[in-house]
Amino acid sequence: MDDRIAKAPPSGMALTANAWTAPFWDAAARHELLFPRCAECGRFRMPPTPFCPHCQAQGLDWVEPAGEAFLYSYTVVERAVIPGIEDSLPYVPAIVEFPAADGVRLITNIVGSPLGAIAVGTPVTLHWHDLPEGGALPVFSV
């Protein structure tokens, strides 16, 4: 088994928000994972956008997703495509699915787990990765 540990992703990307996405990042900074749910038809969507794709309503509730989350897919990045990220290798961009929240998915990272333990379909546990420039990213372990 590959027992190298998945590292946190390279930092440096500024988290820019607008009126529709700010509640997600504000909650993340408090280490709370909140997803937008249509205030009319009650369906989750990610990422947050100004209209519900099912009923076109604009109102949102910000809700903590219930239930387990699972690893939907992932990639292990082992080479630096851009210079300056060598110290972050290997890192594991991943997609995590929340079946109890209409199956919405988060583009995220697996962090702190041995590479050999990472597999599609595995339940994952939420952690928070604080950014040096402020704010935090939701990340997961298997």
Partner: protein, 392 residues
Amino acid sequence: MTAERTIRDRTAIVGVGATPYYKRGRSSPQTLDEMVGKAILAALDDAGLKPADVDGFAYFAGGFDTPMLTEMLGIPEIRFTATLTGTGGGSAGAVGLAAAAIVSGQADVVVVVGGNQMDALRFGAITASYPATPENAFFGATGLVGPGHMFALLARRHMALYGTTRDHFAEVALAIRENAVTNPRAVMHGRPLTREDYFAAPMIADPHCLYDFCLETDGAIAVIVTTAERARDLRQKPVSVLACAHGGARDWGRSIYWMNMPDAVFASSGHGIVAQRLYEQAGIGPQDVDGAQIYDHFSSQVILQLEDYGFCPRGEGGPFVGSGAIRRDGALPINTDGGQLSCGYVWGMTHVREAVEQLRGTAINQLPDPEVMLVTGGPSVLPVSGLLLRKS
């Protein structure tokens, strides 16, 4: 009458021109405009036309500066200049944009041109070059730096759902390399690739290793589209635009930047709905296609497109390529010039060029008398596109 609402066989590609394919950065001191100009002039010469005959431009992926091109090349009047939205997904579709302009009477001789020069910007890290926005905050912070990382997520899901393996990806890379080895235009001309080489290559974004990634190339390619009638009087044997479709489903949408596609669509190329419309428009099916130029930015995505275009059922793309089907002597020879993986990457335009040359009978790795060739553009964000060309 539905016949009046189709572009089927009403236009033709009458000229093709290209610069050499340079390894990234080796095209200097030529400028990108200069390479685009050279490709256009070569395509016009091939057709027996002059700059004064051109009255339209149809682009994709941001396009080029039409006023600059008219000034530079001495094109007296432009009656149509338009660009498909999106990125490389529009490469095949830009020919349909030209056909739409011609069939609707807006222009007579339309240039479709693509080109890239990666002096400053490596496409492999293109995503990291985009400015921070509220939209890319949801994927950029995860270290998904380039498309190769993002498509690896689709490839991994396909492996998990259907049992596709790295052996299948290797077969795509090897089959396409074999075509480049005998093509003097190809960056990988004379450089065979073995399975041992493939599996010894550095892993870049698991499951994508070095040879699953396309080349980074400088170059430009132009084709000239005109009416079927005018095509008959020109220098080359015309290649008929049988059908062309672009677009895609909401369920695909921003795809690699969204990653919330429904499960059935996620591990696909996003081409399914476009492929269906393309075949309907053409009045043919996948069994009528003699060869295909499949957009191969990543080997895994070739397999997903073969499924979406109906050459095998969903999930069976791995075994399909494993059977030898995509080799030059197989049931569906693909990327006969060596593709973007091993010949050159010019935003998909190499595929249009190769399909035209196959149908003219002048290709370097000529197939035995093909009648119909498929060209695809994308997978990428919507639009993705497909083009069917046929021998006149």
